[in-house]
């Protein structure tokens, strides 16, 4: 089968940062069902094309981790300063050289600037920690008290073909996703990742989606599709084939979201009054547009608010603030699972 991709072991590539393009090409061509495992955490199937097994958890010393992160922050600042200084020197030298030969001066300056920008200082940190280790540690500390089987993969996210198959968002011609966090909360498996979808033409780039995508394994069986898409979201796919418009009993929800479903009954079965309220709360809380889709046994929620899950602020490193921030962000996932009321229902017996 075309989408099978050979894993290779690589001790020097703990976060699978080598050959990302080859892996992404294999992922893109795979059918959506290839990404969900039937046993255990289904979302680990997102990493089916990982060149190695998921990274084993590192033992982290917070003080050393922060020391390394400060080193990384300083390196970034130094690199920036070096680049700017280098560019000024090159331009100055090019101006002098142009007095003798203009063509060679421009060529030499261009090459020098490219080298300056791509040749950055990548020396290892004192204790060997990276930014991804920092993120992994923040996630672990934030949600470990109530989430089981946590897996964090910085270079993975929701696969392209899974999102495309939902048929709710225009897919553009550029797709990237990262910072996958998956685990089990109250017996319900979930995954969340940052996502960016764009359409890039010769003279412009239009962002179709940028924000967080959450997927939850729905324990109740259902066949068919239900979508509820924010009416403010301009890049939605209107009236997908085989779906009919459904008017819900909640007028506020109807005014904010366009609901389409395989059948009216399915829409009312899956979109309970509590879930509709929760979706409206997410829209208000996340200050963005929300896309909801039930399909193939999963609930997908996309939040288009132009925000990444978290990146450390290199100007003001604060571990505890980042832990608190991620915990607050995760409350969205917790809230969805709690409102679904599927964790304590008889379905998990």
């Amino acid at each position: 089968m075309a989408y099978i991709y050979n894993r290779q072991q690589s001790d020097n590539d703990p976060y699978n940062e080598v050959n990302i393009n080859a892996r992404k090409a294999a992922e893109r061509n795979a059918p959506p069902e290839a990404f969900f495992y039937n046993t255990g955490n289904p979302f680990l199937g997102f990493m089916r094309f990982l060149r190695r097994i998921p990274v084993a958890k590192k033992q982290v010393d917070p003080q050393r981790l922060m020391a390394d992160l400060r080193e990384i922050a300083n390196t970034k600042k130094t690199n920036m300063f070096t680049r700017m200084f280098g560019v000024i020197i090159v331009i100055f030298a090019a101006c002098i050289l142009s007095a003798f030969n203009g063509g060679i001066a421009v060529l030499a300056a261009s090459i020098a600037i490219v080298i300056i920008f791509f040749k950055t200082k990548t020396s290892k940190t004192t204790h060997g920690y990276t930014v991804n280790d920092y993120k992994a540690y923040v996630i672990e500390q934030s949600i470990a008290p109530f989430v089981d089987e946590i897996v964090y993969e910085p270079n993975f996210g929701i696969p392209y073909s899974v999102v495309k198959d939902l048929n709710v968002v225009r897919m553009g011609n550029r797709y990237s996703t990262e910072d996958l966090v998956t685990g089990k909360y109250r017996n319900v498996y979930f995954a969340q990742a940052d996502m960016r979808i764009e359409y890039k033409s010769d003279d412009s780039t239009i962002i179709y989606f940028r924000g967080k995508w959450i997927a939850v394994k729905y324990p109740k069986g259902f066949s068919g599709t239900v979508t509820a898409v924010d009416r403010d979201y301009m890049n939605r796919i209107r009236k997908a084939k085989g779906l009919e418009y459904v008017s819900m009993e909640n007028e506020s929800f109807n005014s904010l979201f366009a609901v389409e479903s395989s059948s009216q009954h399915l829409a009312y079965y899956l979109l309970t009054p509590q879930l509709m309220e929760r979706i409206m709360y997410i829209k208000q809380y996340a200050r963005g547009q929300v896309v909801v889709c039930f399909k193939n046994g999963y609930l997908h929620i996309g939040i288009n608010n132009y925000q990444n899950t978290f990146e450390p602020d290199y100007n003001k490193l604060d571990l505890y603030s980042d832990i608190e921030k991620f915990r607050n962000e995760f409350n969205l996932v917790r809230g969805i699972i709690e409102i679904l009321d599927i964790d304590k229902s008889v379905y998990n017996q």
Binding site: K220, S247, M248, E249, Q264, H265, A267, Y268, Y269, P273, S345, V346, Y347, Q349
Partner: protein
């Protein structure tokens, strides 16, 4: 003068055509809503039938532990033809009561309560109950739209000409209404 008459005639014809198109559209809207109500109503019937089937299976399992109680409960609920929403509601109320009584009996028999078959039936009963709630909400939402159209002018004229009357809501069970009663 002739031009004025022609223009007036065209305007009148246009008005008649617009009213005719609107009239047909309004009639179709009523018919579409009626179809949706019928669909939702059949959804309620399906859910009620499934609930009854689940109840029968639960009674069968309970019979091997408490035959007398099981037969007593079974005699209070019989499958019946349901023509009105009130009849459906009454039937649903009797199923609720029977399931409550079966659970009370099961509490006295820990082996029955912990048996896999009984647990599976509980899951099935829970799922059917959720389907019934969904069908009830869908039905009531459609009836609400329909009843609003019936009384709203000018659609009320079309409704009167078609001889349409308001539809009955499928009320929530009285026990559930009491849950949200404000003191």
């Amino acid at each position: 003068m002739e031009t004025i008459i022609i223009v007036a005639a065209i305007i009148i014809i246009l008005l008649i055509v617009i009213i005719l198109v609107w009239w047909i559209a309004a009639q179709n809207k009523f018919r579409t809503t009626q179809v949706k109500i019928d669909e939702a109503s059949s959804g309620i019937d399906i859910a009620l039938t499934k609930r009854y089937d689940t109840l029968t299976k639960m009674l069968d399992i309970t019979k091997s532990y408490a035959q007398h109680e099981s037969e007593l409960i079974g005699s209070t609920v019989q499958m019946r033809s349901m023509s009105s929403m009130q009849e459906r509601k009454n039937f649903n109320d009797s199923i609720n009561e029977a399931i409550g009584r079966i659970n009370a009996v099961a509490e006295q028999y820990p082996i029955l309560l912990s048996s896999q078959a009984y647990k599976q039936l509980q899951v099935a009963a829970y799922d059917v109950e959720e389907h019934l709630q969904a069908a009830r909400r869908a039905y009531n939402a459609n009836v609400s739209i329909y009843n609003q159209m019936l009384v709203m002018f000018p659609k009320s004229i079309v409704a009167n000409s078609m001889g349409l009357t308001p539809k009955e809501f499928f009320e929530a069970e009285s026990a559930k209404r009491n849950d949200v009663k404000m003191l």
